[in-house]
């Protein structure tokens, strides 16, 4: 997994590439925790994300909970396979997704 961070004022964009699974999810969580303070807009760019398991979903859920209190969160570039997982788990209703 690769994470490319971009902080632009109070907009924090994270481009996540590769696999977001049990082994890599803690790394993404650390990046979020370290950078989320004062952020008004959090964007996950999943255009190059190939894989997500429940460990990754948990990180998204906790980020969403934080952003509900301090701003907006958006997930962009989601491919069909990952979209299917969001739908199956009800995450498509929780997250704001731009395909």
């Amino acid at each position: 997994m690769e994470i490319i961070k971009k902080l632009d004022g109070d907009k924090f964009e994270l481009k996540v590439e590769g696999r977001l699974d049990t082994t890599t999810a803690p790394e993404l969580e650390e990046v979020i925790v370290a950078g989320i303070e004062g952020v008004k807009e959090l964007v996950f760019d999943f255009a190059a994300l190939d894989y997500i398991s429940s460990a990754g979903l948990r990180v998204l859920l906790s980020a969403q909970k934080i952003m509900n209190k301090q701003g907006d969160m958006k997930v962009i570039g989601v491919n069909d396979t990952i979209m299917e997982i969001f739908e199956v788990t009800g995450f498509s209703d929780i997250l704001t997704i731009d395909k």
């Binding site: 894989y51 948990r58 929780i94």
Partner: protein, 529 residues
């Protein structure tokens, strides 16, 4: 009191130091040593400190000044006190220092094991000594110790030597092995334990083969085997040799551990656990190379003369063949004779190559009997080379320790089966997610706070295209299908994080079953694609 005595021969000066060297007598010792150095054309200096009881820092400074006169200096026969001083002060890193080795007698001692490079004797109730065949074995001993350490750290139960001794002019390494008896002995004396031995023997094999070794820690067996194949060039028809070379070349790199000399004299049952010994052949590589050396130990070396196995493993030929067969069956988790035979044939190819090379290098072609044996192996090898096209095989089940670090191995194993039938990426990802969720769940909860194994089985069908994946563990009984489903209509604030993984699996797979049987959780899932 102290004394300095020198012996000079062929440019080599041996200086014997004895007694104590401290600030009182250091200048005197130095003066005497200088006298020995004077006017001689010295190529190398050896300080024999066998009779030296004590050395202080003033004495160490003398040693440094001697070394200044000639860089080519070593210290031999250091007793443990002197060695400790030299080691603590860092001298052992700049000067070669050999310890004095304690003499151990093996007269009347029971032989409890026999490996490729040495023989194992029990010297008392708790300790054994491995006497090396090679007279100049210090480097080998150091090497084996490093390998055993590597294995132990990676979770393979083994014994590590704590002392090096002299035995009748050879070197030996001593380690603790309480009340141990080899599997060879158990098979000889308790034939009713045959099936238990097969289980335990295969269990350890699985454990070795599921251990990932950090890069560079152990040699690569494929390199070694490639060397054997090169040797065979002069002894095989060109086309057969070419095919052999290709098949070995095509075996992919594998960073899992293999033992390299795995047989029933290298597995010991102690009071409370099974220990693997004789660690000097450890390597990394594809398991086919391990199965090859197992074939040799249990069958190959006795194929011509069936009595050999009795001398080597202490069991008769029929028992040995049955043991190997049952271990292969257990290792491959199958009772399909065709499948067992297929893998054995692949193993035999490498096995024969190894034995033929070994025998020829030991001048086997100059002895009538040995020559006939080589001919037998060679004719079998040629038959197999005609028939077999690849050394690769897939197992239907693997056993790994239930820990998250092994997830990649499990995924690779499942993928290797999916590749056989061809699977679209979307389905493959769903299957990978399902495998991850279930495996990680077992790794996190089944054996807490201890550890244990999980067996993963894969079965694919072509028409219709389907895959069935099963997980077996002996942890706490847990039926994931009985778990209440999370409410996925809740808002983010109200949603918890539990249960999501298993829920995803249930939604994406076509069939799932769970049963608790014979102390095992057996979870199985099926997907059509």
């Amino acid at each position: 009191m102290n004394e300095v005595r020198g012996e000079f021969n062929d440019g080599k000066l041996v200086i014997f130091l004895s007694g104590h060297i401290d600030s009182n007598n250091a200048p005197l010792v130095e003066a005497e040593v200088l006298k020995e150095l004077e006017g001689r054309d010295i190529q190398s200096i050896v300080l024999d400190v066998g009779e030296l009881a004590y050395i202080s820092s003033a004495g160490l400074r003398v040693l440094l000044r001697i070394r200044k006169s000639n860089e080519n200096m070593k210290i031999i026969n250091a007793n443990s006190e002197v060695f400790e001083v030299l080691d603590m002060t860092g001298f052992t890193q700049m000067i070669e220092v050999e310890k004095a080795y304690r003499e151990v007698s093996i007269e009347g001692c029971e032989v409890i094991g026999q490996g490729a490079n040495g023989t194992l004797y029990r010297i008392d109730k708790d300790n054994v000594v491995k006497v090396y065949n090679n007279a100049d074995a210090l480097a080998d001993i150091q090497n084996e110790r490093e390998m055993a350490k590597t294995a132990l750290i990676l979770g393979i139960p083994t014994a590590i030597s704590y002392d090096v001794v002299k035995v009748n002019g050879s070197y030996g390494s001593v380690f603790e092995l309480l009340n141990a008896s080899s599997f060879a002995k158990i098979l000889q004396t308790q034939p009713d334990k045959f099936d238990w031995c097969v289980q335990e023997f295969t269990g350890m094999l699985n454990r070795i083969h599921s251990t990932v070794v950090p890069k560079g820690k152990l040699p690569d067996i494929k390199k070694t085997v490639t060397g054997w194949v090169e040797f065979m060039k002069d002894y095989l028809p060109a086309d057969a040799h070419q095919k052999l070379k290709r098949m070995v070349f095509e075996v992919p790199h594998d960073d899992h551990m293999i033992h390299g000399d795995y047989h029933i004299k290298n597995l010991e049952l102690t009071d409370n656990e099974v220990l693997l010994i004789d660690m000097d052949t450890l390597a990394v590589g594809h398991p086919i190379f391990e199965l090859a050396s197992m074939y040799n130990a249990f069958h190959g070396f006795s194929e011509y003369d069936h009595e050999n196995v009795k001398n080597f493993l202490g069991i008769d030929y029929e028992t040995s063949l049955k043991f190997l067969h049952d271990v292969f069956a257990c290792y491959l988790s199958t009772d399909d004779e065709e499948k067992i035979n297929e893998v054995e044939e692949k193993a035999r190819i490498i096995g024969y190559v190894r034995m033929i090379r070994r025998s020829i290098r030991r001048k086997g072609l100059e002895d009538e009997n040995k020559k006939a044996e080589i001919e037998l192996w060679k004719s079998e090898l040629l038959k197999l080379l005609d028939k077999v096209d690849t050394l690769l095989f897939t197992r239907d089940e693997i056993v790994v320790e239930a820990k998250v670090e092994n997830l990649q191995d499990v995924l690779n194993f499942v993928d290797s089966h999916l590749d056989k039938v061809g699977c679209d990426p979307a389905t493959q990802m769903k299957l990978q997610v399902a495998v991850e969720e279930l495996f990680v769940n077992i790794a996190h909860y089944a054996y807490k706070p201890g550890s244990g194994d999980v067996a993963i089985g894969v079965n694919v069908t072509k028409e219709p295209k389907s895959v069935t994946i099963s997980f077996k563990d002996s942890g706490v009984p847990f039926n994931p299908l009985a778990k209440e489903e999370p409410d996925i209509t809740l808002k983010a604030e109200e949603r918890g994080i539990g249960g999501l993984g298993i829920y995803m699996v249930r939604k994406t797979m076509d069939e799932m079953t769970y049963e608790y049987k014979d102390g095992q959780n057996i979870l199985s899932m099926k997907k059509f694609f």
